[in-house]
Structures are given as C-alpha cells and as structure tokens.
C-alpha cells in the first residue's frame, strides 16, 4: 500500500527530505514501520525519543497503518 511520510525538525535531516512516498506491506503496524525506517536510516536511533502521528493524531506502536495515511515523524518537540 502507498503512504506518505512527512519528517520535521531533525528527522528531516536524518531521512534526507521533508516528504517521501513509500510502499508498505498492508497491515504494517507503526512499530514495524519504525523498525523498517531505522534500518534504512540508522541516524534515527540517536534520537532521545521518536513518536509517530498518523493523520494528525499521535498513535501507539500497535496502531495499524492504512493505505494513503499521512505518517509524521515527531522527534522531541521543543516549542514554547
């Protein structure tokens, strides 16, 4: 299935770009997705924390990614 990955802050530099279109096996969980991503971009392992948002909401590792989801990497936020 096709998904869109958006990366902000330091993750944009770690994965080499703001927006990527990706192909995932259907039924992929957020946890498995992160494993795939960390294999491809090992720099991600250096982060203090890495959360994932799908369609503008934070999700757990067990959350199942769906076709055409907008997946966002959320490294440690530092607003304010």
């Amino acid at each position: 299935m096709k998904v869109k990955l958006l990366s902000f802050g330091i993750t944009k530099e770690m994965v080499g770009g703001f927006e990527k279109n990706m192909e995932l096996p259907s039924g992929t969980s957020v946890e498995s997705f992160l494993e795939i991503l960390k294999k491809e971009f090992p720099a991600l392992k250096k982060l203090t924390s890495l959360r994932v948002a799908v369609n503008e909401e934070y999700v757990e590792g067990s959350h199942e990614i769906m076709e055409r989801d907008e997946i966002v990497l959320v490294p440690p936020v530092s607003g304010g």
Partner: protein
C-alpha cells in the same frame, strides 16, 4: 464546552500580549495570568544568535486546541488564549504567549502553568538554536 472560550493562533507574525489579555477579559473575571516565553541569549553558557521554529501546522493547531479544552475542563477558568509563533526569532523576541482568566486567581495560575508545560510536551513544534559556530535541534539527541 463553549469553543469561543479558547483562542488558538499559530503565526509568523509578532505575538501580542494585549490581544491575548483582551480575549480572556470579562466582567466576571477577577484575575488574568500570562506566560510570555522569550528567546534567551544563551543555552548552557553558549551564545545564541537566533532560533528557528518549525511546526507541523495542522496538528500543532489541533494539539494547542486540545490543551485549551483540557484546561477548561480541569481548572475553574473562564477563557484561555494560546498563541505560538514560527519562523526565525531573535534574542528577546516572543515565541509563545499563554493567557488564562478566572474568577479566583489560583485556577488561572495553575491553568497557565499546566498549558505551557503540556505545550512543551505535546505540540509538534521544533526549534533549532543557531550559534556563531553551528546549530542544534533542541532536545533532539542526548
């Protein structure tokens, strides 16, 4: 919950404490507590030249609104404004203003402090500190 008790703004423009205060004021308000964040000239002894703020805008706005809703449920406050700026800010400039009003002051203090603490944990906004000899995404790596 009445949505017009919450004012959320994410903007590249200069923030205004007067606008936030005016929004939360009302005849049944006894106290207004504000937090104004400002860009400091140093971090851990290193001179900061400026900060770059980047936001995942739609989600930042929805997370800021969630904080407003949570605060109205959790504390006895009348209104809350949460304004955040993005883009490049110099030392002394204001990235965030939070203003809460209540009949009795304790609730406004608690609400304002809770809101800024939560904003710093949940709202997808990132800042890069720019020094004379480099730059760093704040808190990203140990």
């Amino acid at each position: 919950m009445e949505k017009n008790n919450i004012d959320i703004k994410l903007t590249q423009e200069i923030l205004s404490l007067d606008i936030c205060s005016a929004f939360v004021g009302a005849d049944d308000v006894g106290g207004i507590v504000s937090f104004v964040g400002t860009v400091r000239n140093q971090t851990k002894g290193k001179s900061v030249l400026k900060l770059d703020f980047e936001a995942y805008e739609p989600m930042a706005i929805s997370e800021m609104r969630k904080i407003g809703e949570q605060v109205l449920l959790k504390f006895e406050i009348k209104k809350i404004a949460i304004h955040h700026r993005t883009g490049t800010l110099k030392v002394g400039e204001v990235p965030v203003i939070i203003t809460a009003s209540s009949a009795h002051r304790k609730a406004a203090f608690e609400a304002c402090q809770f809101a800024i603490d939560t904003l710093k944990e949940t709202v997808p906004i990132w800042k890069k500190e720019i020094f004379e000899d480099g730059e760093i995404w704040v808190s990203a790596t140990p």
